[in-house]
């Protein structure tokens, strides 16, 4: 029995366990501090759906051996281009949503290709460089948003100032285009965005399918042991590029799903910090810098978004102070820090053995 508990602890990992218990405690306390548990649960599910694909976008790159994708904003930019173009074309509803996705994909492939080539040249330092590639691409696109020839009055400043607005409402176009498919509404408080969750499940399925193909297997092997893969006749650099492209495209799709639920397209410095919640999410799910699974994505996103949704409402009601932002900072960066300092010790132990 003790053994089993020990095994479970080891498999679950301390951070996940602590956060899981914390989340459970929050849900239990919620009714006592007059927080509606159904609203909360519904909020958690919606945010889970919004972030799911962005977190899923970590998987291919980690599996391909390129580490955590701190360069997520690059993929987000591809998604933004798709979203903005779809609005420019005045497309609405599901058509609008899917055309945004379709337009974003080629951008994602192009940017992912360049990004992948760069990361192949800096093996060993991928994560640091990814971080700054993400940041500088956001800043670069900020200049572009000012200058790109979009004309739709829904997107440009009405008066004073040129270029696109910092936030663009998609209310008239494809707000909740996915969420509202087969929505389940129970009472006033519980709302289940069926369409978005199904779409997320479908993306998970696609990633799962990919990792069951010949190429997907090769990507995993190239990440697991590049020397082995090379000796088996696999072009490791190519596999890494494929994984980066996949990651970038997923991020592009992910941000569009996020926006259709959120209701706004956030341009300029909006995507700047998007990588961190996604990275923290997958790490909380139990992924490491070297290995990530779809299960890690689902568990991690749920726990992390759960914490982010529940702490402001519950904790604030208890101590009458809004500490949510501070807790978010400590939890998410603490998790990333834990992963960065932990994996190295495991690796060196392996070398010793």
């Amino acid at each position: 029995m003790m053994e089993k508990i020990k095994d479970f602890l080891e498999a679950a990992g301390w951070p996940r366990l602590i956060i899981g218990l914390f989340l459970l405690a929050l849900f239990i306390t919620a009714p006592f501090v007059e927080v509606n548990i159904f609203t909360s649960l519904s909020d958690v599910i919606v945010r889970f759906g919004m972030w799911g694909i962005l977190v899923l976008a970590m998987v291919p790159m980690v599996q391909g051996g390129c580490g955590l994708n701190f360069g997520l904003p690059l993929g987000i930019i591809a998604g933004l281009l798709g979203a903005v173009t779809s609005v420019e074309l005045q497309l609405t509803g599901l058509v609008g949503f899917f055309s945004a996705v379709l337009i974003a994909i080629p951008f994602g492939i192009g940017l992912g290709l360049l990004y992948g080539i760069l990361l192949n040249k800096v093996k060993g330092d991928e994560m640091t460089i990814a971080l700054y590639v993400g940041f500088s691409s956001v800043a670069f696109m900020s200049m572009m948003w000012l200058k790109l020839p979009y004309k739709s009055p829904d997107m440009i400043w009405a008066y004073g100032g040129t270029g696109l607005r910092t936030t663009i409402s998609v209310e008239k176009f494809w707000y909740r285009a996915l969420n509202d498919i087969w929505t389940i509404q129970i009472g006033d408080h519980f709302y289940f965005p069926t369409g978005m969750i199904i779409f997320f499940a479908f993306m998970c399925l696609l990633v799962w399918v990919f990792f069951h193909t010949k190429t997907g297997t090769a990507v995993t092997a190239a990440g697991s042991n590049p020397e082995y893969a090379r000796a088996s006749g696999v072009n490791v650099d190519k596999m890494r590029i494929i994984s980066v492209i996949l990651t970038t495209v997923l991020a592009a799709v992910g941000i569009i799903v996020y926006e259709q639920s959120f209701g706004f397209i956030q341009l300029y410095l909006g995507p700047f910090w998007m990588a961190f919640p996604a990275v923290a999410g997958i790490l909380l799910g139990g992924a490491s810098v070297h290995k990530a699974t779809i299960m890690n994505v689902i568990v991690g996103t749920f726990l992390f978004q759960g914490i982010l949704t529940m702490t402001p409402s519950v904790i604030n009601n208890i101590i009458q102070t809004d500490m949510s932002e501070t807790i978010r900072i400590i939890v998410s960066n603490g998790l990333i820090l834990y992963a960065l300092t932990r994996t190295i010790t495991i690796k060196s132990a392996k070398v010793k053995a």
Binding site: K214, Y228, R230, G233
Partner: protein, 527 residues
């Protein structure tokens, strides 16, 4: 005069987790004498020197028994630093130098001459100022004592290898206490003329009264400068003789000779290869594999034979398969079954019908984090598109997990791989079973020619025999041509039809496995 004895090692015995590597070694070294230490790889040379130098590896693996007496005092070194304090210096094969530092800075590394200043009283010794000029002077003196022409201000990164070697020696000399210097293959990386200078430096040191233990596989050098020599074999001291009472032939016999009955016996008859068809033709092959460089190799491998490649570690035998299979940069001409092989392209070599079991199981041979069935099937899946289901007219190549598990199970049964199931992770297996997985991976591609490097390294005796038998069986049954590279001569002789010995990146000669041991020894040691 007994006073003349500097070092006495008495009854040194050491095992690594039950694996006996040194048994009752006794040796003595006189002041100002040079002692040559020879032996095959794995004979226990480095372990013996690690014990003498107080390496932490020894302590971490359970220590040793026996006694070391230096200068009449019994020593028990806890760490290399204790050894250094007692006057034992060691120059390693890989340089322990900082490339961006001057020779002087390296010689004085962590023994810098310093001057107290105000801040020392506040924050401690480490804030004392360096006395650069004096350090350079002192380092130059040490270099001059070594007797080479080298400016103490030269950056290590700009030095030729020989000078790096001399810098290391100068560092040891500069410790005034140094009485005994261990040189681990100091000439291995040097050119002939540099080696000459090196030898004269060693001689000089001895004349100054420093005793030297000189490890080398070049018997010529040993004969030239050593006063005595010690031969180790299988962890036992076989011989300790004055150099002038012996000759290279005798030494090589002592080194490779096995006690009667030791080693696997040869059962199968040796194939007559003269009449057989050549399947692999290698001309002017060079391979840039660090530590195993191949300089110029010509080979003709016959169809259906088992060809052994032997030689001491670091001589380049491992470079040959790694180069032909495209894992390390290589050049030259390789023809397989009449077809030219593109080098530096593992896929091409695999597609041509060759397969390779690497000597580096952990880093090249296995996906440690993945299950056995992946490990076995991956290569064949990627190169031959087997174990895939084509869906949507081949648009999606779906991994057939059932077929993969079945394939793995076949090999698990065939090779008696001990595991819980085909889903067990490769890292959880023992060394022998990991090796069997590597073999299964290679067999699964059904190659016409199979390279196997160090097939029995690090696995237990029972598994060893099984691995060798399996190789033999595949050769007999399916006519696969097999090229085995191994450091264990006995193993090569028991399985091969011909054995080539590689020395300094070239083929020193090809012998029949039944040739006398002494001939093998002579080829290995260039005597």
């Amino acid at each position: 005069m007994p006073d003349d004895i500097l070092l006495k090692m008495k009854n040194i015995t050491k095992d690594f987790y039950g694996n006996q590597v040194l048994t009752g070694v006794n040796m003595e070294l006189k002041r100002g004498h040079i002692l040559g230490l020879v032996g095959e790889n794995g004979a226990g040379k480095s372990t013996l020197m690690n014990i003498l130098f107080g390496s932490t590896v020894i302590k971490e693996t359970g220590g040793f028994t026996g006694e070391i007496e230096l200068d009449g005092k019994i020593c028990n070194f806890e760490s290399p630093f204790d050894a250094l304090d007692a006057g034992v210096g060691m120059v390693h094969q890989e340089f322990m130098l900082i490339p961006g530092f001057q020779a002087a800075e390296n010689i004085m590394l962590n023994r810098e001459l310093t001057q107290r200043n105000f801040w020392v009283d506040v924050f401690g010794e480490r804030l004392s100022s360096l006395k650069n000029e004096e350090m350079i002077k002192r380092a130059q003196k040490a270099i001059d004592t070594v007797g080479v022409d080298l400016d103490a201000k030269t950056l290590v990164s700009e030095m030729p290898v020989a000078h790096k070697q001399f810098t290391e020696i100068a560092r040891e000399i500069d410790r005034e206490a140094t009485k005994l210097l261990i040189l681990d293959e100091p000439t291995a990386v040097l050119t002939e003329s540099e080696a000459e200078i090196m030898l004269s430096v060693v001689r000089r040191l001895a004349d100054m009264g420093i005793s030297v233990i000189f490890i080398s596989h070049r018997l010529k050098e040993i004969m030239q400068i050593c006063n005595e020599l010690v031969v180790l074999r299988d962890g036992k001291l076989v011989k300790e003789v004055p150099t002038n009472e012996t000759n290279p032939e005798k030494i090589s016999e002592w080194m490779v000779g096995r006690e009667i009955g030791g080693g696997p016996a040869r059962e199968a008859p040796v194939k007559q290869t003269e009449e057989m068809e050549t399947v692999l033709k290698v001309r002017n092959l060079w391979v840039d594999m660090p530590g195993e460089r191949v300089i110029n190799v010509d080979l003709d491998i016959k169809k259906g034979e088992i060809f052994g490649i032997g030689g001491l570690a670091g001589q380049g035998k491992l470079g040959i398969p790694n180069g032909i299979m495209g894992l390390y940069p290589a050049g030259g001409k390789v023809e397989f079954q009449g077809k030219k092989i593109k080098l530096n392209n593992p896929r091409f070599a695999l597609d041509s019908g060759m397969a390779f079991v690497s000597e580096d199981r952990r880093d090249v041979g296995l996906l440690l984090e993945e299950p056995i069935d992946w490990n076995i099937s991956f290569t064949v899946m990627q190169t031959q598109e087997k174990y895939l289901k084509k869906i949507l007219g081949g648009l999606i190549k779906w991994r057939d997990d059932k077929a993969i598990a079945k394939l793995a199970q076949e090999y698990i049964d065939l090779l008696e791989i001990r595991c819980t199931s085909s889903k067990q992770l490769a890292k959880e297996l023992s060394g022998g079973n990991q090796q069997k997985v590597c073999l299964a991976k290679a067999f699964a591609v059904r190659p016409d020619l199979l390279f196997v490097s160090e097939p029995t390294r690090g696995i237990d005796v029972g598994a060893k025999q099984l691995v060798l038998d399996t190789l033999h069986e595949y050769n007999e049954k399916y006519g696969i041509t097999i090229i085995v590279c191994s450091s264990e001569l006995e193993e090569l002789r028991s399985i091969s039809d011909r054995v080539a010995i590689v020395s300094e990146g070239r083929i020193a000669g090809i012998l029949s496995p039944t040739a006398p041991l002494k001939e093998f020894g002579a080829l290995m040691l260039e005597a």
